[in-house]
């Protein structure tokens, strides 16, 4: 098993590189604890030992040497998880082919991006750093914990999180096809490319299986392809697919393709029209990670509704609200609250959209997404109910370590000052400047990309 042995070697390398990240001990006392999975508990303490939630209860004793945080009058909730982010990525799109399953965002993590700190200041503890949407089968994504302050990208890895990959349907990949004069230039071509690539992967797997079972001493190994290895891993359920999509028809198409190839788990990203096929999503068991209210920035989101998340939730689809933005990521709690205006979701349903549900979509719900004994101590503390417009995040913990504290917030955010730097850039961005799936991706734009600029 080449795959397994290569995995093992990779594992050894990673273990060698990865310093043990810090784990904290803390007792958060007397807060309103929003557990997500077990109700909201008044005047309750959360004890964290060695980075894990050790106990949740009333009047817990403070163990020796454990720091206390007084959360009286405050709200304690699971750290927010953003299932679609491009912060902390130094490049986002590998656009040289319509299939680039071989590349991975793990190679381009920037631990010094100040957006990490800004996200922490919005109560976010984990992000799904995604590849862009320039191609039908994009690169692999990386799930990160926001361990701000380290210079080592490895320290940010969400160790043990399943591998995921980006797919993209609709306008973005077909735009790329048109500017380069290749397939796909239509949604028909997108489906064909997906089916062709999966069929190639099956042939690849069969060829390797045949080679491995061949007893001949003169057997010749098939060509090794990391791209096809990844495609086989998708077929075998080892890599979770997160697919950039907007229109109902393309969402429906991908579910049919995945049914035909026996792939069970699937999350649609953006999915502005998922509400139109909510019963089909529920039946398939696919989930959706959507914007609270973004629409009309391109044709395929013109027939959107801000009630998307509520319709999906009411139809039994596991739904999250993501940012895809270095700006929105700072107030996902506010984005989640919009589902109460647009669709009357309960407090718990609304908060699950940014905690437990994205954790499920990333396959990390056994570790994070709710406040439960044994889970990672990724916690955010707010001064008001987090769904209130008047809520200000106060502290954010990852593995029980405090990475944001409003009391210690400083006016100058530079932690590593470049002595060569002279005058700092002033950057002005408006909503209209955002090329949404490309936001915070410090890369050339699509036109440049496909003109080799």
């Amino acid at each position: 098993m080449i795959k397994i042995s290569s995995f093992f070697i990779l594992f050894l390398c990673v273990s060698a590189l990865q310093a043990q990240t810090k784990k904290g001990d803390v007792l958060i006392k007397n807060g309103t604890v929003i557990t997500i999975t077990d109700g909201t508990l008044e005047n309750t303490d959360v004890l964290v030992r060695n980075g894990k939630i050790d106990r949740i209860g009333k009047n817990l004793k403070t163990p020796n040497g454990v720091e206390e945080v007084d959360a009286t009058g405050k709200f304690v909730m699971p750290g927010i998880i953003d299932a679609h982010s491009h912060i902390a990525g130094t490049s986002i799109n590998e656009g040289t082919s319509q299939v680039t399953a071989e590349v991975s965002m793990e190679d381009v993590v920037d631990p010094l991006d100040v957006s990490i700190y800004r996200a922490l200041a919005g109560g976010v503890t984990s992000i799904h750093l995604m590849h862009g949407s320039a191609n039908v089968i994009g690169g692999q994504n990386e799930t990160l914990k926001l361990r701000w302050g380290s210079t080592n990208p490895e320290d940010l890895r969400f160790e043990g999180a399943p591998r995921t990959i980006k797919f993209a349907l609709g306008e973005n990949p077909t735009r790329g096809g048109r500017s380069r004069g290749i397939q796909p230039q239509s949604r028909m071509g997108v489906e064909a490319m997906l089916r062709n690539t999966f069929n190639d992967a099956i042939k690849y797997r069969d060829a390797w299986n045949a080679y491995r079972s061949n007893k001949s001493s003169r057997k010749v190994a098939p060509e090794y392809s990391l791209r096809m290895e990844t495609m086989v891993d998708i077929l075998e359920g080892e890599v979770l697919v997160h697919c950039h999509s907007y229109r109902a028809d393309e969402i429906y198409m991908l579910m049919k393709v995945f049914s035909d190839f026996g792939i069970k788990r699937l999350t649609f990203q953006h999915a502005n029209e998922a509400y139109k096929v909510a019963p089909e999503l529920a039946e398939f068991g696919a989930s959706a990670s959507v914007f609270a209210d973004w629409w009309a920035y391109k044709l395929e989101v013109y027939y959107s509704t801000a009630y998307n998340a509520a319709i999906l939730t009411e139809n039994g689809v596991t739904t999250s609200i993501n940012s895809d933005s270095g700006e929105l990521i700072r107030h996902l709690f506010h984005e989640a609250a919009k589902t109460q205006k647009y669709g009357d979701l309960s407090d718990n349903q609304a908060l699950a959209l940014i905690t437990l549900n994205p954790a499920k979509q990333l396959g990390i719900d056994n570790r994070v997404g709710s406040l439960e004994k044994g889970k990672d101590a990724d916690i955010a503390i707010f001064d008001n109910h987090p769904l209130s417009i008047y809520a200000v995040p106060q502290m954010t913990f990852v593995d029980g370590v405090k990475y944001f504290d409003i009391e210690n917030d400083v006016a100058d955010q530079r932690i590593y000052i470049d002595p060569e730097s002279t005058v700092e850039d002033v950057q002005i961005l408006y909503a209209n400047d955002h090329d949404r799936c490309m936001e915070d991706a410090n890369v050339v734009n699509f036109t440049d990309l496909f003109n080799n600029k």
Binding site: S115, A121, Y275, P279, A296, S304, T305, D425, A431
Partner: protein, 437 residues
């Protein structure tokens, strides 16, 4: 139940459209004489009336107070337990000018050329833009809609978000937009400091040249020798102070340069817009005395080293320095998020009362229509909304909206899709009795 109530309300309000029991029924705006009773009324300019009445007649607020006689011919609407506010004003949008962001054919806010102050945003406003109902059902009743592009891209207009022609929508204020030469990075495309400085110098020359000519034109335009020159005609009105000049300027350094430029030119009818780094030079702006339209509040800091919440704090810091501040979303389809921009400004230092002014009376006064919009006062246009509570609070629902005295249908593309798809028919199986195949 929800559907039942909405059908019921159609039947009650519009007996003529009793056929509107089917889902395709059209709900029309209604301009009866209205008496809105028993509501908590936030007048903005005259405090809060705990249990008051508003009489709307012929588009105007005819009476407001705790003890008001209700005319016999008025349609009485009991808003017990609800709150009434003046309609919110978004002081910077592309509403009506942009339908679908990525499609150039669907965008009309940018004209060819560098000096095009005569281009009228109002002309290109599409009264039937899908974004307009989406915006107004959230309580935003007016907007400044702005052209964009070069140093002098055109003339912005204040519009009401109800009407079937641009003239029906025009809310009485226009202003020439000027993009002050910028030393900042704009958008994601990186430019070198040299490129930025070169572009800035060139833009400054262009603008100075245009205004030199405009000042001359203003002096000689009545003489027989003067040729009609549409660009100069538009700028001459700025020079004479007849029309507002909106100067878009953001970095601290540029704001100071702009203040200097305005002083040298001696222009008075000026509004600074953008002003993202206003907090850095708030005292200087306050001393110069010009009002500011700032936003979006929900944006990232302008510098990597700035505190994470500087964009949230900026409006409050400027207001506390003595500047008259109005807020904008600088958005189009999500101009409906104006109350949340105000809510963040309120939370981060501005306070609720001042933040409410920043999206009502301040906006109206800055645009020169403070006598018609921005508060609930007798004689003002009946632009108001009724809510379940604090409009900044995200979960608050907007129940009714009146614009120019019309009671607006509370439907939009977004609500219609919700009604159709919440419980879609058919669900997964179109013909459940048959086997799929």
């Amino acid at each position: 139940m929800k559907k039942f109530i909405s059908i019921l309300s159609v039947l009650v309000l519009l007996p003529l459209f009793a056929v509107a029991q089917n889902d395709g029924g059209i709900v029309r705006a209604d301009n009866s004489k209205f008496a809105l009773t028993n509501a908590k009324i936030y007048t903005v300019t005259n405090g809060v009336i705990e249990n008051g009445t508003i009489i709307i007649n012929n588009g105007i607020i005819e009476a407001v107070g705790a003890d008001i006689n209700i005319p016999g011919d008025a349609q009485v609407i009991d808003y017990s337990g609800q709150e009434i506010y003046p309609g919110m004003i978004d002081s910077g949008t592309r509403l009506g000018l942009s339908e679908i962001g990525s499609i150039s054919e669907a965008n009309d806010f940018r004209e060819f050329g560098e000096i095009t102050p005569n281009m009228q945003a109002l002309t290109a406003v599409n009264p039937n833009s899908v974004a307009i109902p989406v915006t107004r059902v959230s309580g935003v009743t007016s907007a400044l809609t702005m052209p964009a592009g070069g140093p002098l891209p055109g003339t912005a207009a204040t519009i009401s978000l109800f009407g079937y022609t641009p003239d029906q929508m025009f809310a009485g204020s226009k202003g020439v937009v000027m993009n002050f030469p910028s030393s900042a990075q704009r958008g994601w495309r990186r430019r070198t400091p040299e490129q930025i400085e070169k572009a800035r110098e060139k833009a400054q020359e262009t603008i100075n040249d245009a205004f030199d000519k405009a000042e001359l034109y203003a002096k000689i335009k009545e003489s027989d020798a003067a040729r009609y020159y549409p660009e100069m005609e538009a700028l001459a009105k700025v020079v004479n102070g007849e029309v507002l000049l909106y100067i878009e300027v953001n970095s601290a350094k540029d704001i100071l340069s702009a203040l200097e430029w305005i002083e040298e030119r001696g222009y008075e009818n000026v509004v600074l817009t953008g002003v993202a780094e206003g907090w850095r030079v708030a005292d200087e702006i306050a001393e110069a005395g010009f009002p500011v339209i700032t936003g979006p509040v929900l944006s990232t800091p302008t510098r990597g080293s700035d505190a994470y919440d500087m964009a949230y704090k900026n409006p409050g810091l400027m207001q506390k320095a003595g500047i008259k501040v109005a807020l904008r979303t600088m958005d189009t389809e999500n101009s409906r998020n104006l109350p949340y921009n105000a809510g963040f400004a309120a939370t981060y230092g501005m306070g609720k009362e001042e933040a409410l002014k920043a999206i009502t009376i301040n906006a109206a006064e800055i645009m020169g229509v403070g006598d018609q919009l921005g508060s609930i006062e007798v004689g003002k246009k009946a632009n108001i909304f009724v809510s379940t509570g604090d409009p900044f609070q995200t979960s608050t629902k907007i129940l009714d909206v009146f614009i120019d005295g019309y009671k607006i249908p509370m439907t939009s593309r977004h609500t219609e899709l919700y009604d159709e798809f919440l419980n879609r028919t058919p669900g997964v199986n179109k013909n459940p009795t048959k086997v799929d195949g």
